[in-house]
Symmetry: C2
Subunit: 166 residues, 2 copies
Amino acid sequence: MDNLPLDAETKALEAPHDHKDELRLWLRLLTCTTLVETEIRGRLRVQFEVTLPRFDLMAQLEKAPDGMALGEVSRRMMVSNGNVTGLVDRLVENGHVARRALPADKRVQVISLTPEGRSEFARMAIEHEAWIAEMFAGVSPRKVGMLLDLLGDLKRSVRKAIEDPT
Amino acid sequence: MDNLPLDAETKALEAPHDHKDELRLWLRLLTCTTLVETEIRGRLRVQFEVTLPRFDLMAQLEKAPDGMALGEVSRRMMVSNGNVTGLVDRLVENGHVARRALPADKRVQVISLTPEGRSEFARMAIEHEAWIAEMFAGVSPRKVGMLLDLLGDLKRSVRKAIEDPT
DNA sequence: ACAAAATACTTTGGATATGAACTAATTTGG
DNA sequence: CCAAATTAGTTCATATCCAAAGTATTTTGT
């Protein structure tokens, strides 16, 4: 009934683990993200009367002083084009963002922070960084470094699985 | 102009790092989560015509054979009460979930999977686990274990920061 | 007992989000 | 050149999502 040696060898070679740990890891990753995101969302709303998606969009623009095409924003934020259109509409309306058509290619809308948007973002970004530091304070710098590395591996793995036809 | 020894000691004692790594870690965490979430959402839609929030809710109910109060679902999913109300409405409508009032406390709505909901979820859960395994395949089991530990630390740190008045 | 506080959920109004269909502008192939 | 394909955004319908206000029910304090 039992031919243990063969089984053991098969086991060792074929790495039979059942992926429960991977599933647990995914759920834990999601929990961490949701916890941080919910807290940040609330603080941004209370202290700056801004939503998280708007803050994220402004953060993208801060890194591009010469402005950025909507499609580029959409790719970087990993959200749909239609989503960005609406987000930008509201940010233009409240004066944080300016949009201009590119003369060379009239399909392209380039957006950038207005001076008011830039200074408002600067205020928010300082607080935002402090909030993250506070929430991550219980993890040593060494462990933060390890997490950066390991999540880098994870990111590569996920991207590969998504892009490859398999 | 420079009293280096003092500065150096102060530096060492007061942990002078500037939290840039923590910020990078947060952004990387968010990227990983978004990548996985977007892919899972798409596959659930194409292969099972179900949305991710509905899948998540059904996953909660699967773990509670005797049903669960709406508030408990809301807490576990970390979403608002009103959100759950609408989600359950639609899941009841399509026959995956049943709701009943608790006789002992008429405020409480207990929901549970219907037989159809349970078998449909079983089909989806098998695929779902395989998708995660596929996406995480590039990370060794050892690193998966390390990530589980480190994200456990992170989760505790974030929870502490959120709950404590500081 | 019973008014006040707390609890469980629903409703409401507004902001995200998506995918698909659509419009306008540019590139490409022949 | 110019029709066909591509590209960049917008619009549309629908589904989340939240915070705040509202409703019904139960518990509490006295």
